[in-house]
């Protein structure tokens, strides 16, 4: 069963007086629990596709369906709830909140609703899983890049989402740290049975059972 489907998705942006089309009718299907890689050169539209799947942006044409729900028919508040409950996102630049501790950063999705002891325990457990059980009260500035990205992974997974989206998650890390981070990400994906979509230049992390989607000039090659 497909967890993620896109049907003839086009995305264009206004650029000056013209219109620049980034994606040209992309259709794909990613099964539930699959680890999928979207690869391709810079500017090919990989990140744009990821953002559309994550309900962070709206396609110009076409449909994006996640777990049977058509994102293009959702209102903004519905998309907010969808992102909150079903999507976990990891960015290349970690994007942690500077004045919050590691634990509080992991709890960011729950802050508006209030933090219960159960949620706090869950966040602590997730930080322990990514090897940061001893860094709960540290702020981003006190952590290395690899540690920050592990906090970002914990934040993405703490709500037990159906889909985790990672946009160049090792792009700002050295080779060894990148491998560590990716190993953790893949372990947790297997453990939680989450569908993982990774945008990357780096094909080292691709394993034979993974789905590879190659994009070039806004078109899906295979």
């Amino acid at each position: 069963m497909s967890m993620i489907e896109t049907h003839d998705v086009t995305k264009s942006y206004r650029s000056g007086e013209g219109v620049m089309e980034i994606l040209h009718g992309v259709s794909l299907s990613i099964p539930a629990g699959q680890c999928a890689f979207i690869v391709g050169p810079s500017g090919s539209g990989k990140s744009t596709l990821l953002h559309l799947i994550g309900a962070m942006d709206q396609p110009t044409k076409g449909r994006v369906v996640i777990d049977g729900q058509d994102l293009t028919k959702m209102t903004e508040p519905q998309k907010d709830l969808f992102r909150r409950d079903k999507i976990g996102i990891i960015f290349q630049a970690f994007n942690l909140v500077g004045n919050l501790t590691a634990l509080e950063n992991v709890l960011v999705p729950f802050l508006p609703r209030g933090i219960t002891p159960e949620l706090r325990d869950r966040a602590k457990a997730m930080l322990t899983k990514v090897g940061l059980g001893h860094r709960l009260t540290h702020r981003p500035i006190q952590m290395s890049g690899g540690e920050q990205q592990r906090v970002a992974i914990a934040r993405a997974l703490v709500k037990n989402p159906q889909v985790v989206l990672a946009d160049e998650p090792t792009g700002q890390l050295d080779t060894r740290t990148g491998e560590d981070v990716f190993r953790i990400l893949r372990e947790l994906q297997r453990e939680l049975g989450t569908t993982l979509v990774v945008v990357t230049h780096d094909r080292r992390f691709i394993q034979p059972q993974d789905l590879v989607l190659e994009i070039e000039d806004g078109l899906l090659k295979k």
Binding site: M56, D85, V97, G98, L111
Partner: protein
């Protein structure tokens, strides 16, 4: 979220402190000015409470010191139904006391505060018809005479008619000390104009407006000030029923055009009206300061938000709604308003304390809880209003616009 919003203020501490100062200064201004206004009302209220009768003086004169009325009217007024007592008074600005004129006293004082204090404390002569005044129920100075144990001495009586004897305020006994520096007391002499006067008593009303009066017999005052033998400034009238003061006013003012009848409640109400108008002007000035404070907070919040756009993007991608972003930023400006209000009120309380310390016997600045609450509310309201635009702006970014923004 409440803690998160609070901590966001500390992420850019200098900017937050500057915004706080920008808003706390108008709070300080509004609380300080309203405390001053309150102090002035209190001052007049204290005075009015002690003067329960009605004062009759010439129309359009601001004070009995400038009034001059026909002394024979006293008998006519006594005939008005309900009138219990009529006491004649002669008021004038005092000649130099201890050879020091008001101008010399003001200019000679060391500090500005002292000069102002001396100016406000300029002595006034009250010559009273002793017999008539001793029959009054609400005779202010008689009642304010200090106890014998505090060297109060005695009040004027019939034996003092035409003699150079004076009852002095405790304040003046300190401000015009003996040559050896000791406070003046009953039995001592004091020079008023060109004559020496024997001090027979000391009084204290604790009213800034009343404790500047040199009380003496009316004939003595006329002689001292070289006024005609029947010169009269005002009549102090008591009704059998104090509730009938207004009736008396109507009768007197309809019968004698040149006489103005001033009940103390009326004086207090007029003063209240004037103070109300002054308050409006003060609030308009302070309103401008609040406007500047609001612009400061808006600027601070906009700057702070522009620096945090990607962070707001992270919150949005993690499921925070536009409304929750709006709430977060509004909370931050609300906190700024609360802290600024508290700081402004704190500074104002400290400022009033310092001012009162220097003013001592003068006007008091009274920051009541109600004034402090008003200052706080104004600050919070200004903070929230100023934060609304930045909050609205932040809430309108799409998650991707925000994440991709390069501050």
């Amino acid at each position: 979220m409440y803690r998160f919003a609070w901590r966001n203020l500390f992420s850019r501490p200098i900017r937050s402190v500057l915004a706080l100062i920008g808003l706390s200064i108008p709070v300080l201004g509004v609380v300080g000015l309203m405390s001053l206004s309150n102090g002035l009302r209190g001052l007049v209220g204290d005075t009015v409470k002690q003067v329960q009768g009605v004062m009759l003086l010439r129309t359009n004169t601001p004070s009995p010191v400038f009034s001059d009325i026909d002394s024979k009217l006293a008998d006519e007024i006594r005939k008005i139904p309900g009138v219990k007592n009529v006491a004649s008074e002669f008021w004038r600005v005092a000649p130099p006391v201890d050879n020091t004129s008001m101008v010399l006293r003001s200019l000679g004082a060391g500090s500005t505060e002292k000069r102002l204090s001396n100016f406000l404390d300029s002595p006034v002569v009250l010559g009273m018809n002793v017999l008539e005044h001793n029959q009054l129920d609400s005779a202010v100075y008689q009642k304010a005479l200090l106890k014998p144990s505090s060297s109060g001495g005695r009040f004027l009586n019939d034996s003092d008619r035409g003699l150079n004897r004076v009852v002095l305020s405790r304040k003046f006994s300190l401000q015009y000390p003996n040559p050896d520096g000791s406070p003046r007391k009953p039995g001592d002499k004091i020079r008023i104009g060109t004559d020496d006067f024997e001090i027979i008593g000391l009084y204290e009303t604790k009213s800034l407006l009343l404790d500047v009066v040199l009380v003496m017999d009316i004939e003595t005052a006329r002689k001292l000030l070289k006024a005609p033998k029947d010169a009269t400034s005002a009549f102090y009238v008591e009704m059998k029923n104090p509730g009938d003061n207004e009736k008396l006013s109507k009768i007197v003012e309809s019968r004698w055009d040149e006489i103005d009848c001033r009940g103390m409640n009326e004086i207090e109400a007029s003063f209240g009206d004037i103070m109300g108008q002054i308050d409006v002007l003060l609030l308009m000035a302070v309103g401008l300061a609040f406007g500047v404070g609001a612009v400061g907070i808006t600027n601070t919040m906009i700057m702070s938000i522009m620096e945090r756009v990607p962070e707001i993007g992270v919150l949005r991608t993690n499921g925070w709604s536009s409304r929750q972003i709006l709430t977060l930023i509004t909370l931050e400006s609300f906190y700024l308003g609360v802290v600024s209000g508290m700081a402004g009120c704190g500074f104002a309380i400290a400022g009033c304390w310092v001012a009162n310390f220097y003013l001592k016997d003068g006007i008091r600045l009274i920051p009541t809880p109600s004034i402090l609450i008003q200052g706080m509310l104004l600050s919070v309201l200004t903070g929230m209003l100023a934060g609304m635009y930045p909050a609205w702006r932040a809430s309108r970014w799409s998650p991707m616009e925000a994440i991709r923004y390069d501050p």
